[in-house]
Assembly symmetry: C2
Homo-oligomer: 299 residues x 2
Amino acid sequence: MNAGAGFDRSVPRFQRIAVLGLGLIGGSVAAAARARGVAGEVVGYAPGADAALALELGLLDRMAESAAQAVDGVDLVVLAAPIPAMPGLFDEIAANLGDQALLTDVASTKRSTIAAARSALGSRFARFVAAHPIAGGERHGPRAARPDLFESCLTLLCPQAETDSQALEGVQDFWTSLGARVSQMDAQDHDQVFAEVSHWPHAAVFALCAAIARGSRAEDALRFAGAGLRDTTRIGASSASLWADIVLDNRDAVLECARLFEDQLRSIIAALEQQDRQALVETFGVAAEWRARLPAPPR
Amino acid sequence: MNAGAGFDRSVPRFQRIAVLGLGLIGGSVAAAARARGVAGEVVGYAPGADAALALELGLLDRMAESAAQAVDGVDLVVLAAPIPAMPGLFDEIAANLGDQALLTDVASTKRSTIAAARSALGSRFARFVAAHPIAGGERHGPRAARPDLFESCLTLLCPQAETDSQALEGVQDFWTSLGARVSQMDAQDHDQVFAEVSHWPHAAVFALCAAIARGSRAEDALRFAGAGLRDTTRIGASSASLWADIVLDNRDAVLECARLFEDQLRSIIAALEQQDRQALVETFGVAAEWRARLPAPPR
C-alpha cells in the first residue's frame, strides 16, 4: 500500500472524520482511512443496521446515533448516502458542523449534490468539495467495502466559484491519501460524460437482463451463458434502487444517451430485417474500432 | 493439463486431422490437438496468410494448399471457417473425403451448417456431427489461438436422425480429448438459446459502443470509462464481419430477441421520462435478480 509521496503516516492528516452512509463506497472510505492512518478516529453513521455491521466488520472506530451527532467535532465529513437522501443529510448536519470542517461526497451525479449543498450549507458551502471516485462494482452494502478500493482510482473533484482554495487542497489531500488519483472537472461536463460511460450503460444492461429474465428462456440462458454474456451483464447485478435514483437524478443527460443508443439500435435492427450485411459490418466496425481504443485498466 | 480420464496419450486417437479455417477457434483446435497428442499429424488450411502464420506460430504440423488437399487421408475434419464460407467448403471437400472420415465444425449457429452439410455430403452426412464449443473472445485470428481454450469449455453437439452412432462417439471423444465438456442439444433450441445469450447481446453491445463512438463525447468516454463499461463492452471489440454473418445467419431468432429487448428498453425510457421510480426499480430489480443467479465461470 502506498500512502502517497511525502505523507508522514505517524501523524494522522485528520484528527477525526465522519462517514455518512456505509455502503460499498462509504464503507470503503472508512476502511481506507483507518487502514492508511489518515484520521485519528473514523466515526460512521448510516440508517438501519449498516452502521452496526460496519463497526463489526472493522470499517469504523465508532458509530454515531445520528448524522448530526456523527459530525460533532470532526475535521472532515464524507457524505456517502444514496442520492435522494443527500439534501436531507446536508440539512441535518449543517448546524452541527465546526467552522473549519471540510466536506466532500461520493455521489455518481454532481450537479444535484452541489445544488443541495449550496442550499443547505450557507457560508459553509465554501468548504464543500464535490467528489466522484470512479470506483464501485455490482456488489453493495458494508460487506462489499474494502480498504484498497481507491488505490489508483481516478477521483474527480468539482470545485465551484465559492470553493475555498484551502478547502479544495484539504479535500484533494484526503482523496490522495486514500490512494486515489485526483483530477478536476466541471460538474455539468461530469454529469454528461458519466451519463454516457456509466448511467446509460447501466440502464441498457438492465434492459438486456430484464429481456432475458422476462422471456421464455431465462433458465436456459443461465445454463448456457458464456464469458461474453457474463462480462456484458456484470453491472446488471447492481442495486436496482441505487441505479434508479442515479438515472433519475441525471435524467436529461441519460435520456439524450438513450436517444443516441436507439438510433444505432434501430439502424442495426433495420439492417438485420433487410439483410443488409454492409450496413451491419459498418456499424459493428465503428463500435469495435472505438472499443479497441479503450485502454486497459491502470492496474 | 488434463488429457481426460482413461486416455492413453502414447497412442494418438487420430492419425491425421485437418482443420479448415485457422482463426481463434480453428487455430486453438489445431494447437490443442497438437499439445495434447490427440492426432499424429495436424494439417491446416485457411485462405490468405492465416495458414502460413498458423504454421509459423506452431499451431500446425503442416499446411495444405487447398481445403480439398487438406482433407486427403485424414480421420477427422474440423470446419472452422466463417459461416458464409461453410457451404462452399463442404462442397469443396466432399469428393476428397475418405470413407471413414469424421467431420465436425465450430460454427456459432447450427441449423444452417447442418443444412449445408446435409446438402453437400450425401451419404457422408452420417459422419458429420455439428458442434459448438462455447469458447471465444473478442480477439480473433491465428495469433489469438491458444491450446487451452477448450479446457472445461462446454461443447454442444447437435446430432441428426441420420448421424451414425460411432461417428457421434468419435466426434465426442475428439472434443473431450481437447479438454471440453460435451453435451447434446437440439439444433433449433441451440440457435434460439444462443440468439439470446450471445448473438443478440453482441448486437446490443455493438449498438452501445457505436452510439458512444458516433456521439460527441467519444474521446471523453475513452478517458473516463471505468471497469463497468470496460466489462460491458468487451465483446464490442469482436470482429465486425464475423458477427454480421452470425446475426444474419440466425436472423429470425435474433430479431425475436431484439423485439423483447426493445420492449424492456421502451419501458425503461418511458419510466425515465415520466419519472416513475417504482417502474424503474421493478425492471432493474428483475434484471438484477436474474443476473445474480448467473453462476461464476467453471474455472
